[in-house]
Amino acid sequence: MEAEGRIPGPPLPAGGEGIDSHLAAGALGTARGPLLAAAEVLALDDEEDDLEVFSKDISLTEVNSFSPSVPISPSSMINQYKFEDGPELRDLFITVDDPESHITAIETFITYRVVTKTTRGEFDSSEYEVRRRYQDFLWLKSKLEEAHPTLIIPPLPEKFIMRGMVERFSDEFIETRRKALHKFLNRIADHPTLTFNEDFKIFLTAQAWELSSHKKQGPGLLSRMGQTVRAVASSVRGAVKNRPEMFTEMNNYMETFSQKINILDKIAHRIYKEERDYFNEMKEYGPIHTLWSASEDDIADSLKGIASCIERCCRATERRMAGLSEHLLPILHEYVLYSEILMGVLKRRDQIQGELDSKVDALVNKKDLFSEEIEKLEDKVERANNALKADWDRWKQNMHWDMRSTFTNVAENNLRYYEECLATWESFLTSQTVDLHVDEDSEDRP
């Protein structure tokens, strides 16, 4: 579906002209100089700086600064970019661990240790260790959304968990959240554009007081509200009339995907619950056989054998459940969040287009269609579209990979479970038939 309407672009060489000039300027981080001129020509906002200069994705850079109308071919992306950056391509390593409880007079909260190791030039040091709380992550996410309205910002774990009986500060909850936060930061680090975002850098490196003071600067609440108002206004107007076919397709896709992923999430939770209930009953089942064996002579061993088999299958069930909760459930949950994020991104793109459209409408009578303002907006739309398109393709590839590996893992999990149980029961059966032969032999003896 996403291939329609796209002309495959020329294959982009790994070491093309474009990238040479960047690399020549030293570490990727400092190659601002030569391209600033180009940026000025296109009259970009500050926000768009990161987009062309620091992008690891050559095709993106090419498109934005040299050939705005060349669409990106997915095959070229696959060739140049691994879905989860192999170690050779990474120069930024982040871990989130060591949750700690902080109790003040006003509140209790948890902080997580964020350790960053990097070889990048723009970082003053090669290693950083800071402590961050959930609020800080929320701040980072909103800054990224602000800076890159049509990029797909990775999902954050939710504030509260509605489902289940997990308490706010239970170990399970904290661990789940920690893993999700770890993933969040690493996904940003892996993102060709977001990884060079300034707020991201500050998040990773600033001390607590530095971060607080930095947070207080910036566009702030009003500007964010303005954006929201505009977004609502454009959505109220209904489907954008000049929306390119590709984005309508994306919208349709996301509507269905969102539906399906939510159902899958529910199914997965239901499976987990059923398995847990089964496990609880099985726990009681085995010991009854042991109890019975105490009243018996001849069949005591068989009964004890059954009890031990059931116990082993019980443990195997536990492992099966753990597999679900460690892999399938978190991934599906992430993609539920992703589907919301993507719907939001599509709306924001529509909103940007809406700005252009309304300007055009306003000026059409004045026969002033070639004003600079229109041009500016057109470029903005162009860049937004391209950014989204590229990120969309990247997201789809990642999603594909995630789903394949996760469900394969689920299958492997179940296979392991059944193989373990099979071995258990087969060895029991062998022991029983051996006994039978022994019994028969003893009867024939005088």
Binding site: T256, I267, F407, A411
Partner: protein
């Protein structure tokens, strides 16, 4: 098991003679309930009805009729088919004979057998009534199998299979009920109250029966607990499998919007449907296993019945002995004129004067007669009691071996079922894994 015993003859007239001979043999070798070697017991079974005749409960049918109180009712009738087993050389199949019986007639048969052979652990009937519906086809089917099992158990029992009433139950449709009632077995039945009384008051029951009673209580309790939990486990397992069935539709709908993943999702979904459907057969097989255990749950009651009979007889014996002792004492007192024990007679004679010598003589004579009667009765009761213990214990040993054999087989079949379930699971998930990895 190989038999070195001579082949039992096929001709019927000699059958009973031979069985008697074999029973005598058994008694000579027995030593107060010592275990008969399995081979010998099997040989004893060779002459059972089960070996001479094929018995099946092949069909169940809904009927309506009028009951004893002339009220219209619906019930299920079961078709019992029998056919004599011909030897291979004849090459002909004997004709199948059949008749219809309802559950209440089975009950009547069993009651008759329990009363008539109190020393035998009489095979139990399948459950009397489900809380839900007697007409439910699954319940009827399982009852049909249970009733067939009951008949086969009785027909394989060396003693019970020879009973004429049992034979008539299989072969004679009309007038069977009257035949049973004519035996007057209901009169021989011990009242519940009497039995309960005996259980509490008996002083010296045979220890083995007391132990057996404890065992049967434990057996009943543990099997019913096991069955309850097994049912819950089965329920949960059903849930796990069935919930996977939801994958199929979602995968299919999702695959419609995917280009590369579509095929993999679609085919994986199909395998999930197969997985979800597989649980039905698995659980049905397990129901048979549960029924096998249930039979022994009900057997526990039959064991207790034999123990109760022993307690009753023993109590009866103790009462008779006590009565005899007290009469002897009375006699002695009257003869010697000494009053050793307090008695009303003694008091009244003190108050109102002694009896005349003639009166005393008369009393002594009556007592002496009673004492003699009592001693004879005591002797025969003693003999009865010992015979009962001997034959009951022989059947209990037979039962124990049957139980151990059957339960061990059942446990093995349970393992086989689990293995089959695991293998099916491995197959489905291997297929699913392939689909997922090709997504």
């Amino acid at each position: 098991m190989e038999s070195t015993e001579p082949e039992p003859s096929d001709s019927r007239p000699e059958e009973e003679e031979e069985e008697e001979e074999e029973e005598e043999e058994e008694e000579e070798e027995e030593d107060d309930g010592a275990l008969l070697a399995p081979k010998q017991r099997l040989a004893a079974m060779e002459d059972c009805l089960a070996k001479k005749m094929e018995i099946t409960v092949s069909e169940a049918e809904k009927r309506t009729g009028r009951n004893a109180m002339n009220i219209q009712e619906t019930y299920t009738a079961y078709l019992i088919e029998t056919r004599a087993v011909e030897s291979q050389s004849e090459g002909q199949c004997a004709p199948v004979e059949s008749l219809w019986r309802r559950y209440s007639e089975f009950e009547l048969l069993r009651n008759y057998l329990s009363v008539t052979y109190p020393h035998i652990v009489v095979p139990p009937l399948p459950e009397k009534r489900l809380s839900a519906d007697n007409m439910d086809p699954d319940f009827v089917e399982r009852r049909r199998i249970g009733l067939e099992n009951f008949l086969l158990r009785v027909a394989s029992h060396p003693v019970l299979c020879q009973d004429k009433i049992f034979y008539a139950f299989l072969m004679q449709e009309g007038g069977w009920k009257e035949m049973v009632n004519e035996t007057g077995f209901q009169l021989k039945a011990d009242s519940r109250l009497k039995a309960l009384n005996a259980t509490f008051r008996v002083k010296n029951p045979d220890k083995r029966f007391t132990e057996l009673k404890h065992y049967s209580d434990e057996l009943q309790s543990v099997i019913s607990h096991l069955l309850r939990v097994r049912a819950r486990v089965a329920d949960r397992l059903y849930g796990v499998y069935k919930v996977h069935g939801n994958y199929g539709r979602v995968f299919s709908e999702w695959s419609a919007i995917e280009k590369e993943m579509g095929d993999g999702l679609q085919s994986a979904g199909h395998h999930m449907d197969v997985y979800a459907a597989s649980i039905d057969d698995i659980l049905e097989e397990e129901e048979h296993y549960a029924d096998q255990l249930k039979e022994y749950l009900f057997y526990a009651e039959a064991l207790r019945a034999v123990c109760r009979k022993h307690e009753l007889m023993q109590y009866d014996l103790e009462m008779a002995a006590q009565d005899l002792t007290s009469k002897k004492q009375q006699c002695e007192e009257l003869a010697t004129g000494t009053v050793r024990t307090f008695s009303l007679k003694g008091m009244t004679s003190k108050l109102f004067g002694q009896e005349t010598p003639e009166q005393r003589e008369a009393k002594i004579k009556v007592l002496e007669e009673q004492i003699q009667e009592g001693e004879e009765q005591l002797k025969s009761k003693n003999l009865e009691g010992r015979d009962f213990v001997k034959s009951a214990w022989a059947d209990i040993e037979r039962f124990k071996e049957q139980k151990n054999h059957d339960l061990k087989e059942a446990l093995i079949s349970y393992a086989v079922m689990q293995i089959s379930m695991c293998k099916k699971g491995i197959q489905v998930w291997t297929n699913a894994k392939e689909c997922f990895s090709k997504m």
